[in-house]
C-alpha cells in the first residue's frame, strides 16, 4: 500500500516561504513525477514527504496514518538520492543489507531479499565490491536495490539520473519504468527534465516557485496546459508563444502553437527565413524568423529540404492552437 496525502503542507525558511500551503493526493501504485525548473521547491517537497525537512505547518498522511511527526526511517518510505549516497565503506551486499539491519530483519530472510533484489537489478556479480569500484549505472542500481529490499510503501527518487551520461540515462529510465511495473509500488520521482517526466509518469505534478501549477497525466498536460508556465515547460522543443496582434485577433492575450503544429505552406501563413535547420532523418527541426510573430520553432516529419537562409511560409493548425488570457490562464473555447 502507498497512498499519500498532503494537507496544507507549508514550508518556510525564516521569512522566505519556500512552499505555500499545498494539497496533493497520490494514489497507491502511482508513478508521480514532480517536475519544475531548479529552485521550484520540488526537492524540498520530496524531502518534506521523506521527513528530512520539517514542515512549518500541514500534515502528511501515508495510508491513512499521519506521519507528520514520524522520523524519516519510520515512514515506510525509501529514497534514491541524486548522488546515490552509497555507504562508501560497505560492499554492495552490505549497502543493501543496511536498512534490513536497522529494521532488525533476521539474517536469512535479509539474505533472500537481497539476493532477489540483486537478481532483479542484475547486480549478482558485484555483491562484494565497494561502491568506488562500480560504474555510475551500477551505483544507481545499488541505490535502487537498497531501496527495494525494504519493500517500502513508496519510493522517492531525487533526480536519480542527472549524474549519468545521456545513453545510460535513457536505459535507466526504461529500467525504472520496468521496475515500477513489476513492483507496482507508489513512486515519487523528482526531475527537472520534462522528457523524463513525460516518459515515466502516470501523473505529473508541475511545480513553480513552490506552487503546484498543474497536476495530470502527461498527455493531459501536453494537450491542455492549464497556464502559460506549464505550456512553456512541457514539450520539446518548446511551444511557440505569440503575443500581440496575432493573439488579440484570436481573442487571447497569448497564443501557443507547438512546433509540430506548424506546417510549411505555399501561400498565406507567416513569411520567414530559416535561421537554423537540424536534420535528424526522422524529423527536421527548424527555427524560422518571421516578420509577423518573431522566431518560431517548427518541427516537420521526415526529411525536409531546407537550409539556412531559405525563405519559407509557415502556418499554424488552428484547431491545435492554445489560447491564454492576460493572467496566463488557459482560455476554454
Amino acid at each position: 500500500m502507498g497512498k499519500i496525502r498532503l494537507n496544507g503542507v507549508n514550508k518556510r525558511f525564516g521569512a522566505a516561504e519556500v512552499i505555500p500551503a499545498l494539497d496533493l493526493e497520490i494514489e497507491d501504485g502511482e508513478f508521480v513525477v514532480f517536475v519544475g525548473p531548479s529552485g521550484c521547491g520540488k526537492s524540498t517537497l520530496l524531502r518534506l514527504i521523506a521527513g528530512l525537512e520539517d514542515m512549518t505547518s500541514g500534515a502528511i498522511v501515508i495510508d491513512g496514518k499521519d506521519v507528520s511527526n514520524a522520523a524519516p526511517g519510520a515512514r515506510g518510505l525509501a529514497m534514491v538520492f541524486q548522488s546515490y549516497a552509497l555507504y562508501p565503506h560497505l560492499t554492495v551486499a552490505e549497502n543493501m543489507a543496511f536498512p534490513l539491519r536497522m529494521a532488525g530483519t533476521p539474517t536469512d530472510l535479509a539474505q533472500t531479499k537481497i539476493a532477489r533484489a540483486a537478481e532483479v537489478l542484475n547486480l549478482s556479480g558485484y555483491m562484494d565490491r565497494k561502491p568506488s569500484q562500480l560504474s555510475g549505472g551500477q551505483r544507481q542500481r545499488v541505490a535502487i536495490g537498497r531501496a527495494i529490499v525494504r519493500e517500502p510503501a513508496a519510493f522517492l527518487f531525487d533526480e536519480p539520473l542527472s549524474n549519468l551520461d545521456a545513453a545510460l540515462r535513457v536505459s535507466m529510465r526504461q529500467e525504472i519504468t520496468e521496475l515500477h511495473r513489476k513492483l507496482a509500488t507508489t513512486m515519487i520521482y523528482v526531475t527537472h527534465d520534462q522528457v523524463e517526466a513525460m516518459t515515466m509518469a502516470d501523473k505529473i505534478v508541475v511545480l513553480n516557485a513552490g506552487r503546484i501549477e498543474q497536476v495530470g497525466s502527461p498527455i493531459e498536460l501536453y494537450d491542455t496546459p492549464r497556464n502559460l508556465f506549464v505550456a512553456g515547460f512541457i514539450g520539446s522543443p518548446k511551444m511557440n508563444l505569440i503575443e500581440g496582434q496575432e493573439a488579440q485577433v484570436r481573442g487571447a492575450s497569448v497564443i501557443g502553437i507547438r512546433p509540430e503544429h506548424l506546417d510549411t505552406v505555399a501561400e498565406g501563413g507567416w513569411e520567414g527565413q530559416v535561421m537554423l535547420a537540424e536534420h535528424l532523418g526522422s524529423d527536421t527541426f527548424m527555427q524560422v524568423e518571421t516578420q509577423a510573430v518573431g522566431m518560431l520553432n517548427v518541427r516537420m516529419d521526415g526529411e525536409v529540404k531546407a537550409r539556412h537562409g531559405d525563405k519559407v511560409r509557415v502556418a499554424p493548425k488552428v484547431d491545435k492552437m492554445h489560447r491564454f488570457d492576460a493572467e496566463g490562464l488557459r482560455l476554454v473555447h
Binding site: 538520492f81 565503506h89 543496511f98
Partner: protein, 276 residues
C-alpha cells in the same frame, strides 16, 4: 611528450640535490642524537669520526634504571586517555556542529580556534589553583583533564572539518534506512570519515604528548611525564647529555611509527579540508 633535453636533466638534478639536502636536514639531527646516546661520557665532546668505536650502552642502561620509564608510561596514559576522552566527547559534538542547521556556527568555530590558541602560561595558574582546591594536583585524572583543554577543541575543530566533507545525503540515506542519528554517526559517518578520525586522534595525541608546561605545573613525583622528566638530567652542576639523548629517543620512539603510519591519513583528511 617527455622532455629529455639536457636542460631538463640538469633541472631535475638540481631538484634531486635540493631534496637530498632537505632530507639531510631532517635526518642528521636524529642521527646525531643516536650517536650521542651511544657515546661514553669521556668521548662525548669529540667528533664521532675521531673515535668511531667508542660506543657504550651505559646511557641506555642508566635510563632504564631511572624513573624515566615510569614518566614515559605516565605520558602514555595521560596523552592516550585525553585523546580518547576528546574523541569520545568531541566527535559527536563535531558531528552535530557539522550537520545540524543553526546560526552561530561561525562563533563556535572562532571560539574553538581561540581556545586552541590560548597561551597556557596565562591560564595555567588559575588552573593550578583550581586543581589544588579540587585535589587534582599530581593525579592522572587532573593531567588528563588539563590535556583535554588542548585536545578537545582541536578534535572538535578538525572532526568538524572532516564531517563537512561527508555529503549530507549520506546522513539522510541512513535516516531513511531507519537508522537513528547515533547509528548514522557510528555506522555510516565515522567509517566514512576514518582518515579524518585517525588524523585527529594522532594529532591530538601528539599535542598532549608534546606538552611540557602543564605537566611541569600540575604534576608531582607520581605523575610526572617524560618531557618534564627529561629535564631532570639537567642537574645542579652538570648536564647528562648521553642520558638526555637516550631519553629524547625514548620519547620519540612511540610517536615515530604512529606518525609514519598515520601521515597518509593526515594528508587524506587535510586534502579534503583544504579543498574546502
Amino acid at each position: 611528450m617527455r622532455d629529455q633535453s639536457i636542460s631538463f636533466r640538469v633541472k631535475r638534478g638540481i631538484g634531486i640535490a635540493m631534496m637530498l639536502a632537505l632530507l639531510a636536514f631532517s635526518l642528521l639531527p636524529i642521527l646525531w642524537t643516536l650517536i650521542l646516546a651511544l657515546r661514553p661520557a669521556t668521548h662525548l665532546f669529540e667528533p664521532i669520526w675521531s673515535s668511531p668505536t667508542a660506543l657504550t650502552l651505559d646511557n641506555i642502561a642508566s635510563i632504564a634504571r631511572s624513573d624515566f620509564p615510569r614518566a614515559l608510561l605516565n605520558s602514555f596514559i595521560t596523552a592516550g586517555a585525553s585523546t580518547l576522552l576528546a574523541l569520545l566527547l568531541g566527535v559527536p559534538g563535531a558531528f552535530a556542529l557539522s550537520k545540524r542547521r543553526f546560526s552561530g556556527k561561525f562563533m563556535a568555530s572562532w571560539l574553538l580556534l581561540l581556545l586552541r590558541m590560548a597561551p597556557p602560561v596565562g591560564f595555567v595558574i588559575p588552573l593550578f589553583l583550581f586543581y589544588v582546591q579540587a585535589g587534582l594536583i599530581d593525579t592522572h585524572i587532573g593531567l588528563i583533564f588539563a590535556y583535554t583543554s588542548l585536545t578537545l577543541p582541536f578534535v572538535v575543530w578538525s572532526m568538524w572539518t572532516s564531517f563537512n566533507q561527508i555529503p549530507n545525503e549520506l546522513v539522510e540515506a541512513g535516516l531513511m534506512d531507519g537508522a537513528s542519528l547515533w547509528q548514522v554517526l557510528r555506522l555510516i559517518v565515522l567509517p566514512a570519515a576514518r582518515p579524518g578520525l585517525v588524523a585527529a586522534g594522532v594529532l591530538s595525541f601528539l599535542l598532549a604528548w608534546n606538552d611540557f608546561f602543564f605537566a611541569l605545573v600540575i604534576t608531582r613525583s607520581s605523575t610526572t611525564t617524560a618531557p618534564v622528566a627529561i629535564m631532570n638530567f639537567v642537574s645542579y652542576a652538570s648536564v647528562d647529555w648521553g642520558a638526555i639523548a637516550v631519553a629524547a629517543i625514548a620519547l620519540t620512539l612511540p610517536t615515530v611509527p604512529i606518525i609514519i603510519i598515520a601521515n597518509k591519513y593526515i594528508v587524506q583528511s587535510l586534502g579534503g579540508a583544504v579543498k574546502g
